[in-house]
C-alpha cells in the first residue's frame, strides 16, 4: 500500500508541474500587464514601466522562457512571485484560501450529508410522496444556475429582514468590518453572514447527492444480503442503515472528496455575489487585472487541490470497500 501511494504521489507531482507550467505559459503569453500602466494621465515614462514590470517579472520584453525560469526558480523555493500591485502572491492566496475554506466547509458537509439522507430515504420510499417531491425539487435546483439561485436567496433574505424588522441575514462579506464586541457577538455576526452563501452552496449539493445516493441505494435495496440481514433478526430499519446504507455510501464518500477539491477554487459565483474574498473570486479578478503570477499560482493550487482530492477519494474508497484494496 505504501509503495502504491508513493508511486501515485510521484505521478501527481509530475502532473502538477506540467499543469502549472502550461498555465503560466498561457497566462504570461495571453495577459498583458503592460496595459495596466499605459494610457494613463499623466503618462508614465516607458523606462519606469519597464523597470516596474521587470521588478515584478512581468516584462513582455524579456523572453517568455526566461520569465518562466525566473518564476519557476521562485516557486521551487516556495515564492509565487508578486501581484501586479506589488504584494506577495503567496500571502494573498494564503489569506484567500482561508476565506474559501470557511465558506465551503459547512456548506459542503451540510449539503452532502443532507443529500445522502434525502436520497437514501427517497429510495426506501420509492415512488412515494417524499420520493416524488425530492426528485422534483432536485431537478428544479439543478436547472437553476447558481447566479440566479444566489440572487433569489439574497432577495428572500432581504425580504425576511424587512418582515421581522431586524438584520437576521447579512448578504455581503464575511464579517461586519469594525464590529465591536466579544467572541459571542463576533461569532453571531459571522454566522449571519454565512447562512445565505452556505444555503446557496448546499442546495446545489443536496440536489446532486440525493440523485446520486438514491440510485446507489436502489441498487442495493434489492440485494440478497439485505434479506439475509433481516433473516438474522435485524429490524428492517437497522438492516437498511447498517447493511444497505453502509454499502451504498461508498461512491458518495469518494465523490465527497472530489467535490471538496474542486470547490476550493470553484465557488466563483457564490464568492462574487456574496462578497467573500476567496480563491474563486481572485481567479476572475486576476485575469481582469492581467495578474500573471496570481493566475499561475491559482492554477497550481487548483491542480494540487484536485489531485489531492482524487488521491483522498482513492484512499477513502480503499478504506471503505474491502473489495478494491490492493494487496
Amino acid at each position: 500500500m505504501a509503495g502504491f501511494l508513493l508511486r501515485r504521489l510521484l505521478n501527481y507531482l509530475v502532473l502538477i508541474v506540467v499543469a502549472t507550467s502550461l498555465a503560466y505559459m498561457l497566462a504570461a503569453g495571453a495577459l498583458d500587464p503592460r496595459s495596466n500602466y499605459e494610457g494613463r494621465n499623466p503618462p508614465i515614462p516607458q523606462a519606469v514601466i519597464d523597470a516596474r514590470l521587470t521588478e515584478l517579472n512581468l516584462n513582455d520584453r524579456t523572453p517568455l522562457f526566461d520569465r518562466y525560469l525566473t518564476w519557476a526558480g521562485g516557486v521551487v523555493h516556495g515564492d509565487f512571485g508578486k501581484t501586479v500591485a506589488g504584494g506577495s502572491v503567496g500571502e494573498d492566496l494564503g489569506r484567500r484560501a482561508g476565506v474559501t475554506l470557511r465558506l465551503i466547509t459547512i456548506g459542503l458537509i451540510l449539503g452532502s450529508v443532507a443529500g445522502v439522507f434525502v436520497g437514501a430515504y427517497a429510495a426506501v420510499k420509492q415512488y412515494g410522496v417524499f420520493d416524488r417531491l425530492s426528485t422534483g425539487a432536485s431537478f428544479v435546483v439543478l436547472a437553476v444556475p447558481t447566479v440566479v439561485l444566489a440572487n433569489i436567496l439574497i432577495i428572500a433574505g432581504v425580504w425576511f429582514n424587512g418582515l421581522v424588522g431586524a438584520q437576521v441575514f447579512l448578504v455581503s462579506g464575511e464579517a461586519t468590518p469594525g464590529l465591536q464586541g466579544g467572541f459571542a457577538t463576533q461569532a453571531v455576526d459571522r454566522l449571519q453572514h454565512l447562512i445565505l452563501p452556505t444555503l446557496s452552496l448546499s442546495l446545489g449539493l443536496i440536489a446532486v447527492y440525493s440523485r446520486y445516493q438514491r440510485n446507489m441505494m436502489l441498487d442495493v435495496l434489492g440485494a440478497d444480503f439485505i434479506r439475509t440481514a433481516m433473516a438474522k433478526g435485524l429490524r428492517r430499519r437497522t438492516a437498511l442503515i447498517r447493511h444497505a446504507l453502509r454499502t451504498a455510501l461508498i461512491p458518495a464518500v469518494t465523490y465527497f472528496a472530489f467535490t471538496f477539491g474542486s470547490l476550493l477554487v470553484g465557488t466563483t459565483f457564490t464568492e462574487k455575489i456574496f462578497g467573500w474574498h476567496g480563491m474563486g473570486e481572485q481567479l476572475v479578478n486576476s485575469i481582469s487585472t492581467n495578474d500573471v503570477n496570481t493566475v499561475a499560482a491559482i492554477s497550481c493550487f487548483a491542480a494540487f487541490a484536485v489531485l489531492a482530492a482524487s488521491l483522498a477519494s482513492d484512499v477513502l474508497h480503499a478504506v471503505l470497500d474491502p473489495r478494491v484494496r490492493v494487496g
Binding site: 508511486r7 501515485r8 505521478n11 440485494a223 440478497d224 444480503f225 434479506r227 439475509t228 440481514a229 433481516m230 433473516a231 438474522k232 433478526g233 435485524l234 429490524r235 428492517r236 447493511h243 453502509r246 454499502t247 461508498i250 471503505l320 470497500d321 474491502p322 473489495r323
Partner: protein
C-alpha cells in the same frame, strides 16, 4: 439429514405412522397459505393453499420447477416478502401465529427460532463487513453476550461448518471466500442461535457438484448439532431423494403430491410427479432410450386454467380434469396425498411413470399399459472407419495475469487450458465435462475462433486452423455452428424468429431462404406459423429450439453446444435433449457437448472427456467411464451427484473432496489433482513423490479409455 431413526409419513392434519417425532407438536405449521401479487385480473397468485406441518428434527423437501411458488412460500413464512404481496392463511411457529405479526415479534423469531439459507451465496453476505463480524452480529441480535464472546462463537461456528483455519478466516471479507465457503458461512449464520427450523432455499443450486456434496454434508452436520427441522427447497429430485424424510411437490403454486420420500419416488400417484421423475436423465442408466419430456409449458400464474393446472400437459387427462381443481386427497399409504382425479385409478392399476407417459393421450386404460418404444440408434460404422470431424492436439491457452492500475505488469499466468487432446468422429457426441473453472468453455472458444492456438493444433474437418485464410475460415464456419447456454441472451430480442434463423443463410449468400426457414422451424418442433414472433414470446425451451434451428440453418457437420440445457427446467430440458439426439441421428451430425451436468452427458454423449484445471483427467467411451471410472477425480465427481432414487442414495458411498479448486494461476506441481485427491492420501511416500514430481500423461487403459493418473484403478461409484 436422515438423523431421526424413525421417518415420519404423516402430515400435520393427519398424524400417520408411529414414530418418536410424531409425538411432539409440530414446530412449524403452515395452513392454507396464499400469496398474491398485484390485484384485479392481472393479479398473480404465486402460492395457492400450501399447507404443511414440520415436526422437530424432520426434513421436508419442497420440489418444483421455476415459478411453482416454492421460494415465495418460504419467504412468506419468514415474513420477508415485499409489502405489496398479499399473504393470507396461517403460519404457526411453536404454536404462535406469526403471519401478520408485528415486526417486533417477527424479529424475535427470525434468526433465533427460524432461520434461512438462501440460494445465491455470492450475494447473500454484505460485501463490506468481515465474515466473522456478520456471524457475530447474528449471535448478538438474540443473545446478551459481549463482542468478544460473539466473535469467539463466530469462529466456533465457522469451524463447525468446516472452514479450515476458522480463527483467521473469520477476519476475511466475503469476496475472499469461494462460493462453497460463503454458503458454509451463511449456514453458520443460520445455526448461530440454535434454531428450531431452518429454511434452505435451493442451497446448492449455484454450486458445483463436488461442492454441493460438501455443503449437503455440512447441512447434515448442522442439523445434528442443532436438532432443527429443515425445509429443503430445490428443483433437483436427486438432492431431495438422499436428504429428506418427506416430500412436497409443487406445481403452479399448489402442492400436488405430499408423502414420505419412498411413497413419492416409488409409489407416485400424481402424473406431474411422474413426469418429473421420468424426464430426468439418470446417472445410473445409460443412454439408448429417449427421455420422457412433459409436453407444453407450465401455465402462467396470472392465467390459470379453470380445472387442474396440469391438465393441459397431462397425458392421462379426462374431461373431469378440466372442470374443477382436484383437492389434495389421501391415496394408499397413510400420509400420502395427491391432487389428481385419477389417483385412485393409478393406485388400483399400479401404473408406473413410464406407462403413463408412453401410453399417449388416451391414457393407459384405452390402449393398455404399453411397453416404452425402444429408441433405435442408427447403424454406424465402427469408430475407426468414420471420418475425424474435429481433432484437437495438445491445445494450450494461457492468459496473462495483470496487476496494477497505473503501472500494469504481468504477475503470473492463468493456465486456463494446458495441453489437451481429443478427437470427434462423424456422428459422434463428445461430452466435455468439468466443474466451473476447469477450462471447458475456454477450450470451446479456442476451437470456435478458428485461428492458430498458442500451442498445439486444432483441425476442423481436416483443415488445420493455423493455416486458414479469411475465405477458408468463412467456409468452415458453415460446417461448424454453435448453440449457447442462455437461450434468451443469445437471441436478438428485436429480431423475429424468421430473421434470426435467416441471418446465417443471408450471411452466406443464400437467396430466398423462406422455404428452408419453415423447414428448420418445423425440424426443431416449433410451429412454422410462429416465425413472425419475437424471442420473448417463447418459453425457455422453445427459445433454445430457435437457437438450434439457427445453428442448423447452414447444414453444419459439427455442432458445438455450450451448456445448451443447463438453463432449462427438467421437464423442458428432456425435450431439448431428445431433439438433439434425434437431429444427430437424422442429419448425421457430430456434437461437442460442453456441460457440467454429468447425468445429461451420460445420456447424450458417446464419449466423454473429464477436465480438471485445464487438463483432461479421463477420457473414453461413456459406458466405460461411468461404469468403471478410474481417475480419482472422476470417481469423486460421479459419487457426488445425487441420484433421484431414495433407496440407492441411502446405500451409496460418497467420496467427498476436500477444499476448493486450486487457482489456475498457480496449479499444483506434478498431478494437478493431488492436493484434493483421496487416493493420494493412501499412498506411501515414494508413490506420493511421484504424484508431486511427475505429471501424469493420459494413458490408454482399455479399449477407448484413457486416464491421467499414475495409480488408476477401477471403482464402481454410481
Amino acid at each position: 439429514m436422515r438423523e431421526c431413526d424413525e421417518r415420519q409419513a404423516g402430515t400435520g392434519a393427519r398424524p400417520g405412522a408411529s414414530g418418536r417425532a410424531d409425538l411432539a407438536d409440530p414446530v412449524l405449521e403452515v395452513t392454507d397459505l396464499d400469496v398474491t401479487f398485484g390485484s384485479g385480473p392481472e393479479a398473480v397468485r404465486a402460492v395457492r393453499g400450501v399447507s404443511y406441518a414440520l415436526r422437530p428434527g424432520e426434513v421436508l423437501g419442497i420440489v418444483g420447477e421455476s415459478g411453482s411458488g416454492k421460494s415465495v412460500t418460504s419467504l412468506a413464512v419468514m415474513g420477508l416478502l415485499p409489502p405489496h404481496a398479499r399473504v393470507t392463511g396461517s403460519v404457526r411457529l411453536r404454536g404462535q401465529e406469526i403471519l401478520g405479526a408485528t415486526e417486533k415479534t417477527l424479529t424475535a423469531f427470525r434468526g433465533k427460532t427460524i432461520s434461512m439459507v438462501f440460494q445465491d451465496p455470492l450475494s447473500a453476505l454484505t460485501p463490506v463487513y468481515r465474515v466473522g463480524d456478520q456471524i457475530a452480529e447474528a449471535v448478538r441480535i438474540h443473545q446478551k453476550v459481549t463482542g468478544q464472546q460473539a466473535a469467539r462463537r463466530a469462529v466456533e461456528l465457522l469451524d463447525l461448518v468446516g472452514i479450515p483455519n476458522a480463527a483467521q478466516r473469520a477476519k476475511a471479507f466475503p469476496h475472499e471466500f469461494s462460493g462453497g465457503m460463503r454458503q458454509r458461512a451463511v449456514i453458520a449464520m443460520a445455526i448461530a442461535n440454535d434454531p428450531d427450523v431452518i429454511l434452505c432455499d435451493e442451497p446448492t443450486t449455484a454450486l458445483d457438484v463436488t461442492i454441493q456434496a460438501q455443503v449437503l454434508e455440512v447441512l447434515k452436520r448442522a442439523q445434528r448439532e442443532t436438532g432443527a427441522a429443515i425445509v429443503l427447497i430445490t428443483h433437483d429430485l436427486g438432492v431431495v431423494a438422499g436428504s429428506v424424510d418427506r416430500v412436497l411437490v409443487m406445481y403452479a403454486g399448489r402442492p400436488v403430491e405430499v408423502g414420505s420420500v419412498d411413497d413419492v419416488y416409488y409409489r407416485v400417484r400424481m402424473p406431474y410427479t411422474m413426469g418429473l421423475l421420468a424426464s430426468i436423465p439418470r446417472l445410473d442408466r445409460g443412454g439408448g432410450q429417449p427421455l420422457v419430456p412433459i409436453e407444453g409449458n407450465p401455465p402462467s400464474p396470472s392465467a390459470l386454467p379453470p380445472g387442474c393446472p396440469f391438465e393441459p400437459r397431462c397425458p392421462i387427462a379426462v374431461p373431469a380434469c378440466a372442470e374443477a381443481e382436484p383437492a389434495l386427497e389421501p391415496v394408499g399409504s397413510p400420509g400420502h396425498l395427491a391432487a389428481c382425479v385419477r389417483a385412485g385409478e393409478i393406485e388400483a392399476e399400479g401404473w408406473s411413470p413410464a406407462q403413463v407417459y408412453h401410453a399417449g393421450t388416451g391414457g393407459p386404460d384405452e390402449r393398455g399399459p404399453g411397453t416404452p418404444p425402444v429408441h433405435l440408434r442408427p447403424v454406424r460404422l465402427p469408430r475407426d472407419e468414420r471420418d475425424v470431424v474435429l481433432e484437437v492436439k495438445d491445445l494450450t491457452k494461457h492468459h496473462p495475469l495483470m496487476k496494477g492500475a497505473i503501472f500494469r505488469r504481468r504477475i503470473g499466468t492463468v493456465h486456463a487450458v494446458d495441453g489437451i487432446s481429443f478427437d470427434i468422429r462423424r456422428m459422434e457426441t463428445l461430452g466435455l465435462v468439468g466443474e466451473s473453472g476447469c477450462g471447458k468453455t475456454t477450450t470451446l472458444m479456442e476451437i470456435l475462433e478458428l485461428t492458430r492456438p498458442q500451442h498445439g493444433t486444432i483441425a476442423v474437418l481436416g483443415h488445420d486452423t493455423a493455416g486458414l485464410n479469411a475465405r477458408e475460415r468463412m467456409a468452415i464456419r458453415r460446417d461448424m455452428q454453435v448453440v449457447f447456454q442462455d437461450p434468451l441472451a443469445s437471441l436478438d430480442p428485436r429480431m423475429t424468429v424468421y430473421d434470426i434463423v435467416a441471418e446465417p443463410l443471408r450471411t452466406h449468400g443464400i437467396r430466398d431462404p423462406g422455404p428452408r426457414i419453415r423447414e428448420l422451424i418445423r425440424l426443431v418442433g416449433l410451429d412454422a406459423a410462429h416465425a413472425a414472433r419475437y424471442p420473448q414470446d417463447f418459453s425457455g425451451g422453445q427459445r433454445q429450439r430457435i437457437g438450434i434451428a439457427r445453428a442448423l440453418a447452414l447444414e453444419p457437420r459439427l455442432l458445438v453446444l455450450d451448456e445448451p440445457v443447463s438453463a432449462l427446467d427438467v421437464s423442458i430440458q428432456a425435450g431439448v435433449i431428445n431433439l438433439l439426439e434425434d437431429l444427430k441421428n437424422r442429419l448425421g451430425l457430430s456434437y461437442l457437448f460442453v456441460a457440467h451436468d454429468l447425468a445429461v452427458v451420460r445420456h447424450i454423449a458417446d464419449r466423454v472427456a473429464v477436465m480438471y484445471l485445464g487438463k483432461i483427467a479421463e477420457i473414453g467411451q461413456v459406458g466405460q467411464v461411468y461404469d468403471a471410472p478410474m481417475h480419482p477425480y472422476t470417481q469423486a465427481l460421479l459419487s457426488a451427484i445425487p441420484l433421484p432414487d431414495p433407496g440407492k442414495e441411502r446405500s451409496r458411498r460418497r467420496i467427498l473432496l476436500e477444499g476448493d479448486l486450486p487457482s489456475p494461476a498457480s496449479p499444483p506441481s506434478g498431478c494437478r489433482f493431488r492436493t484434493r485427491c483421496p487416493k493420494f492420501k493412501t499412498l506411501d511416500e515414494t508413490d506420493q513423490a511421484r504424484c508431486v514430481n511427475e505429471e501424469p500423461r493420459v494413458r490408454r487403459l482399455g479399449e477407448d479409455h484413457g486416464v491421467s493418473c499414475h495409480f488408476a484403478e477401477k471403482l464402481d461409484v454410481v
